[in-house]
């Protein structure tokens, strides 16, 4: 019997365990297996194989029964996920339905999740802007949260490292608040985007309109062909999964790369319950998993554990990992675990018309837009709110058809669409929010999910700083639009609830002091150094830039450190 047990433990023992297979978990898997470690990746959802499991990727518009609208019964049963912009008939298979993983909204929060191999990396908006020194210095300069334990110089080489492999399209723009990277060919700005860039440059010395940097293979290199990926074909239906691997996802890139090493074990349907802490060894020894197909609790063991379950689920796992040593959650000596949750404010948009370039239009499609790097409070505090915002910007020459008639008149009009007599322009704000103790997640004491794990209680809201920022965005963009000669300017504050930005961060923040943070400068738990958290949960502050590229770089950096320490025998 005892021999059998030893064998069983051996079979369930790996060098490393990665919890989650999304954008950061995929990178952890690639880096760990690449360094020769036998790695177990635990994915709570089903397996989704690149191309094979993208059922709608080749479907023509007319092949969708409801022309991509969501059925009413699905909408009624899923009020949360139905609010997500990317949830439609062609993508619904990649989103978590509301009842699958219930949580408690102490304050309204739309938690958008993707439980499958690749997680939300299949669905993301693919914008990959580096964070800058201004972002990492932010909390210390402006006196909020805690000081980041790293600076831009610490992560810069890792940005380069992940950019080269993932394939990032962009232009070297030499903007201080948005460092340049290792870029493939940039997407072209269209006539009016280019015009706006020139107008803004003429009127403001510190404001820039650039082409967005995004994870698309605009000019693939050998390393991308080696991954089995090919050039982006500008279909702009990315969230259905890309048969060319034209954009970066775990499914198309890091996971198959990791699998090629022969060191990867990917285990789907594995809901992580908690991390096992060994009091005698003073470190984590493995994880408890509930097999979602059998409801059986199982254990897996490893020398190092990477937690990449997506920001709020990583918090949930740590909070649920209690022991005599850590009664309030793994690594939670400070009591800050689950607190200082922050996100990006996407509520504000501003649209207008431009009457120039009326003899011109665009041709083909662009899976990208223009980008306005943050220009507020960059060098010093200059407004009545902290931090600032970046913005997306795009212009389009749309067509319309006259639908007023009936019969042959209507048919004729439908078959003769006309160009609008203006270009439509629009911008959306991406605001940095300030992490606060009062924005938190915690485990509910009474309600459990279908696996018997406590439900997550989410208590996150906007504050005055966010509202002042929206006001400033409207004022500044109204001025920039007016100076560019744009007409019919319309501002809109959607007042949507937090969560729909899908940029939730924090809860297990990095910091220098174990008394006020959970993770050290290598993303390791201060008090349990063989557990690393390298997804959104680790973020001390949020910057204004889309965070995924930073998670990738942090993960690669952290794995490099972890494996070196293992080989020195310190882990």
């Amino acid at each position: 019997m005892s021999n059998l047990n030893i064998d069983a433990i051996k079979n369930q023992t790996y060098d490393a365990i990665v919890i989650g297979s999304g954008i950061s978990g995929g990178w952890a898997a690639k880096e760990l297996t690449g360094k020769g470690l036998r790695t177990l990746v635990l994915e709570r959802g089903r397996d989704v194989k690149h191309v094979i499991d993208y059922p709608t990727t080749l479907m023509q518009p007319w092949e969708f029964e409801h022309h991509n609208r969501i059925k009413k019964e699905v909408k009624d049963a899923n009020p949360i996920v139905s609010k997500c912009y990317a949830f439609y008939e062609g993508t619904e298979q990649f989103f978590v339905k509301d009842a699958e993983h219930p949580y408690i909204q102490e304050k309204p929060f739309d938690w958008i999740r993707g439980y499958q191999t690749g997680g939300k990396s299949l669905l993301w908006a693919r914008q990959t802007q580096r964070w800058s020194e201004y972002d990492f210095q932010g909390p210390a300069r402006d006196g909020f949260a805690v000081d980041w334990p790293i600076r831009y110089a610490d992560i810069a080489p890792w940005y380069s490292y992940v950019e080269k492999f993932a394939g990032i399209s962009g232009n070297k723009d030499n903007v201080a608040s948005l460092p340049d990277g290792e870029f493939l060919a940039p997407h072209e700005l269209n006539c009016v985007e280019k015009y706006f860039k020139e107008q803004v440059a003429k009127n403001y010395k510190d404001r820039h309109i650039i082409t967005g940097r995004c994870a698309h293979l605009t000019s693939p290199k050998q390393v991308h062909y080696d991954q089995g990926r090919a050039q982006c074909q500008s279909r702009t239906i990315c969230e259905r999964g890309c048969p060319y691997g034209g954009y970066f996802s775990s499914n198309s890139s890091t996971l198959p790369w990791a699998a090629k090493t022969g060191k990867l074990t990917l285990r789907p349907h594995s809901v992580v319950h908690s991390i096992i802490y060994d009091e005698k060894k003073g470190k984590a020894t493995g994880v408890r998993v509930i097999d979602a197909t059998t409801n059986q609790m199982m254990e897996f063991y490893a020398r190092i554990i990477f937690v990449n379950a997506a920001a709020l689920n990583s918090n949930l796992i740590l909070l649920n990992s209690t022991s005599h040593r850590f009664p309030n959650g793994l690594g939670n000596d400070s009591g800050v675990l689950g607190k200082y949750i922050a996100f990006h404010n996407y509520t504000a948009t501003i649209n207008a018309d431009y009457e120039g370039f009326l003899d011109s239009t665009t041709d083909g499609r662009k899976p990208n837009s223009a980008y306005v790097p943050r220009f507020r409070n960059v060098e010093k505090q200059e407004t009545d709110f902290l931090r600032g915002y970046a913005a997306g910007f795009s212009a389009g020459r749309y067509q319309h058809d006259d639908r007023s008639g009936l019969g042959e008149d209507l048919k004729k009009a439908l078959l003769k669409p006309e160009y609008n007599n203006v270009w439509s322009v629009g911008s959306h704000m991406m605001g940095e929010t300030i992490p606060k103790e009062s924005n938190y997640v915690a485990l509910d004491k009474s309600k459990v999910d279908p696996w018997g794990i406590p439900q997550l209680k989410i208590s996150v809201e906007y504050d005055d700083n966010d509202r002042k920022m929206v006001k400033d965005f409207f004022e500044q963009f109204t001025e920039m639009y007016t100076k560019a000669g744009f007409k019919n300017i319309r501002t809109n504050d959607s007042n949507r609830t937090p969560g729909l930005d899908i940029h939730e961060m924090g809860g297990a923040r990095m910091g220098k002091d174990p008394k006020t943070s959970v993770l050290n400068k290598w993303n390791a738990i201060h008090s349990c150094k063989n557990v690393f958290v390298t997804d959104g949960a680790s973020m001390t502050s949020t910057s204004t830039q889309n965070p995924s590229l930073t998670y990738m770089a942090m993960t690669a950096r952290s794995v490099d450190y972890a494996v070196k320490e293992m080989r020195k025998g310190t882990l």
Binding site: E63, R235, D363, K366, R403, L406, G407, K411
Partner: protein, 173 residues
């Protein structure tokens, strides 16, 4: 461009071979009846005539041939709330009532011009349900027509895989 218009002309000449998507071919009355929403055989014929009146066959196929009626039933049954379903059901009755009143025969029995007049009349009716019916059915007919394979591959060409983006090109006159 020349090649494309050649293909387009070819398709127009050959005509006749309209392929409906799998969901419409496999379509059956059972598959579109959800909850309280039911439709009779006579109403199916009526709806086909309504969509054909909204977008008729000319030198190219009309909405009926392209399956817009099947699409509407699918959409109303699956994607619309009870209120819209009721407006739809009531409107189907009103069409015939109005037709009998105006022309002394059912909508299906009327000629093309009479059918068009009935729908025009309903679309400006002071009765909001009648107006709403035409709005709903017309909107869905346009959607079903424009997003049909025939229109998207022959008349308003949809490029699934453009493979390019040019930011500033002259509009072709």
């Amino acid at each position: 461009m020349q090649r494309r218009s050649a293909i387009k002309n070819l398709a127009l000449t050959i005509g006749g071979t309209i392929v409906l998507p799998a969901w419409a071919n496999a379509w059956s009355k059972e598959s579109i009846q959800s909850g309280a929403f039911k439709i009779t055989y006579a109403q199916e014929t009526l709806l086909a005539e309504i969509v054909e009146t909204i977008i008729p066959k000319t030198d190219t196929p009309g909405a009926k041939e392209l399956g817009a009626d099947k699409f509407i039933l699918k959409m109303v049954a699956d994607c619309y709330d009870k209120k819209s379903q009721d407006i739809f059901a009531k409107g189907m009755v009103s069409v015939d009532e109005l037709s009998k009143k105006e022309n002394g025969k059912t909508f299906v029995e009327s000629d093309a011009k009479q059918k068009l007049e009935v729908l025009k009349k309903m679309s400006t009716s002071p009765n909001s349900d009648e107006k709403g019916f035409v709005q709903l059915v017309k909107g869905l007919t346009i959607d079903g027509y424009l997003v049909s394979e025939y229109v998207m591959t022959n008349l308003r060409i949809f490029e699934m895989v453009p493979g390019r983006y040019h930011g500033c090109v002259p509009i072709k006159k």
